[in-house]
């Protein structure tokens, strides 16, 4: 079994809505609600959905620009969920997720070996540390896990990078390109001294198709497409393992968009990059992705390899979404599924299947029971009662 580069497990992110004099929490925005998926090395996973579906929140939570409400974020061989929590919270997370569980399992199974054998992946690895190096002691295990946090955080930040949507607001207007792109490598000590910074920045700029002569320019001296290339260069400068591209080409003109998409594909080949490509645009997703995840109101409704998804979309929402995309070919007259109404609010999502209020196929069951994501064909997952 291939090991995923990033594994997201049962991720939940709720945002509180506060009101009144005491700013009490009156409701929660359920932006991401129990989402799990893997990203494997070298592939592009496309995350697609309309506004409010939680796709951007997933990217931001993955990067820990938001802390998850619950769930696990595993990068490579490490659980990174507690990396950016204050020590006490990190401790209680680790206790809850590992030490208490291991001790409970030990009581049930009797021997440490049978506990370890019953576990898989990261749990097994941590159980080995717990029963081996830490000799079953919670405090020792915690001190192992909580050691070298600075290094762990730095490695995490180096491995995961992001390219934002808006090439205007995502570059600091007061900094020169050299500083914007060079800051990361310098902080992470990939380069030392001015000469090496300049060399590094020139090299990545040329990688993204911008002349190395421009390193002393400011962002406003570049066009939108060039700025987005600088945004890509900034991510690339740290030789990351995963780049999250959050609507990275949405703000660009058509002729510029194709340049940046082609560039990102070329860079992926050259540097063996992995992308999590977040977009609302199914046509772009189809072009760049290997695997596609479709989201609706904080949930995954369908996920499959690109070809399967586009050849045979199974979820009614995916089908409606696909049929809604205008095709630049006047010879094709296709059947269009027009969905009724607007996307409901994620504060009070509909009961049962969240899509049932707009679904053209919904039956009574849909409003009562929430469908689970099931594998209906090899590698093709759908959350719908009506798909057999």
């Amino acid at each position: 079994m291939k090991q995923p580069l990033v594994r997201i497990e049962r991720l939940i992110k709720y945002f509180p809505i506060r009101a009144g004099v005491f700013k009490r929490v009156v409701a929660w925005v359920k932006a991401v609600d129990d989402v799990s998926f893997d990203v494997f090395e070298g592939e592009t996973v496309g995350l697609v959905g309309e506004s409010g579906c939680g796709k951007t929140t997933i990217g931001m939570t993955l990067l820990r620009l938001y802390e998850p409400t619950s769930g696990r974020i595993i990068v490579g061989e490490e659980d990174t969920t507690y990396y950016f929590l204050p020590t006490t919270k990190a401790r209680s997370y680790l206790k809850r997720s590992y030490t208490d569980r291991f001790q409970q399992l030990l009581k049930e199974k009797g021997s440490t070996d049978s506990v370890i054998d019953s576990l898989q992946g990261i749990d097994r690895r941590y159980a080995e540390i717990f029963f081996g190096d830490a000799k079953g002691s919670a405090s020792k295990f915690l001190s192992v896990m909580l050691s070298n946090m600075d290094e762990k955080r730095k490695k995490f930040r180096r491995d995961l990078q992001i390219v934002f949507q808006d090439p205007y607001s995502s570059l600091n207007p007061r900094l020169r390109v050299k500083t914007i792109v060079g800051e990361g490598p310098l902080t992470h000590r990939l380069v030392r001294g001015d000469k090496e910074v300049v060399e590094r920045v020139k090299a990545v700029l040329e990688d993204v198709g911008i002349s190395g002569e421009y390193i002393y320019r400011f962002p406003h001296e570049f066009s939108g497409g060039q700025r987005q290339r600088i945004g890509v260069a900034r991510a690339l400068a740290l030789s990351p393992k995963l780049i999250i591209a959050d609507e990275a080409v949405a703000a660009l003109d058509v002729s510029i968009r194709s340049q940046v998409i082609n560039l990102m594909k070329d860079l992926q080949k050259e540097h063996k990059l992995t992308y999590l490509f977040i977009s609302h645009d199914l046509s772009v997703i189809k072009y760049v992705s290997d695997r596609v995840i479709v989201m609706y109101l904080g949930k995954i409704v369908e996920s499959a390899p690109k070809k399967n998804l586009f050849d045979e979309p199974l979820h009614p929402y995916t089908r409606a979404l696909m049929s809604a995309i205008p095709i630049p070919n006047p010879n094709i007259k296709k059947e269009r599924i027009i969905l009724k109404g607007d996307v409901p609010s994620p504060i009070n999502p509909p009961s049962g299947c969240r899509f049932h209020t707009r679904c053209y196929m919904a039956v009574e069951e849909c409003s009562k029971i929430e469908p689970q994501l099931r594998e209906v064909k090899p590698d093709h997952y759908v959350a719908c009662h009506l798909v057999k």
Binding site: S51, Q226, V254, S255, S258, N262, H280, L321, N331
Partner: protein
Amino acid sequence: MKEPILSVRNLRTYFYTEDGIVKAVDGVDFDVFQGETLGIVGESGCGKSVTSLSILRILDEKGRIVEGSIVFDNVDLTKISEESMRKIRGKDIAMIFQEPMVALNPVFTIGEQIVEAIVLHQKVDETTAKKMAVDLLRKVGIPEPEKRVDEYPHELSGGMRQRAMIAMALSCKPKILIADEPTTALDVTIQAQIMELMKQLQREYGMAIILITHDMGVIAENADRVVVMYAGKAVEYTDVKTLFNDPKHPYTWGLLHAIPRLDIEQTRLYNIPGIVPNPLKFPTGCKFHPRCEFAEEKCKSEEPELKEVVNGHLVRCFFWEKVEQAKKKEAGDKQ
């Protein structure tokens, strides 16, 4: 032969800014026929929006129509007084915008804003106008129109706001509706709803629509006739099928190959090199020549005219036949 209800000829709108003259629109020609949709397509800064603002004469103070004619109902709109223009604006020619939140006044209810438009152009009292407003909201598919008519724009969702805008634009049964990127700010499923609504209302009212967009897909599905604009100029003008099946301008051809598509498999998107030019520093000669793979010496110095190369197909390019060869080669590669 059908008579167009709006004819734009050689339109040039310049902005006199402190940094210099911005030739936002610099040579655009097209006709709009009753019941038809004319699409204007191009990238940012190509002058597609300024073209529509020129038709309604709602340019800001720096902008001026310096040449050309806009003939509507046998009247040249560039020549008439502001007072006569005000009678046409909103009544015969109405407009909807990309951002309904910006276009609607936040301190008045939806109803008040529609009533204002009705009372201004029609001889009815406010009570009747309010009833008409409710009917219009129902017609554009707003649920519970009796309640919604008294709500403020911020109380509606993006799609509902755009519907309210359309209701307002339709209040005086205009002959021409100008829709400037009407669905760009909306989600695709909502975009599909709005485009469907516009088509249905067009059939019902028999009005002409000028649809301005950057989205080739929206054009292909909704326009009857298309103007492709680049750097302030119309570079190609023909009916929609011909444009997509047989594009003749290198820019149109490149653009159609540069978009990711759902309907075909693509191994690599076509790269139009370079950037969209700055309107203050448009290149000499053909404005597209620095980015054109077919350009020759002549293109750098001389400016091509918008010429009819085949029946009803206008192209602004000296070497459009080279695109024909590229298309033949492409067809050969496929086999």
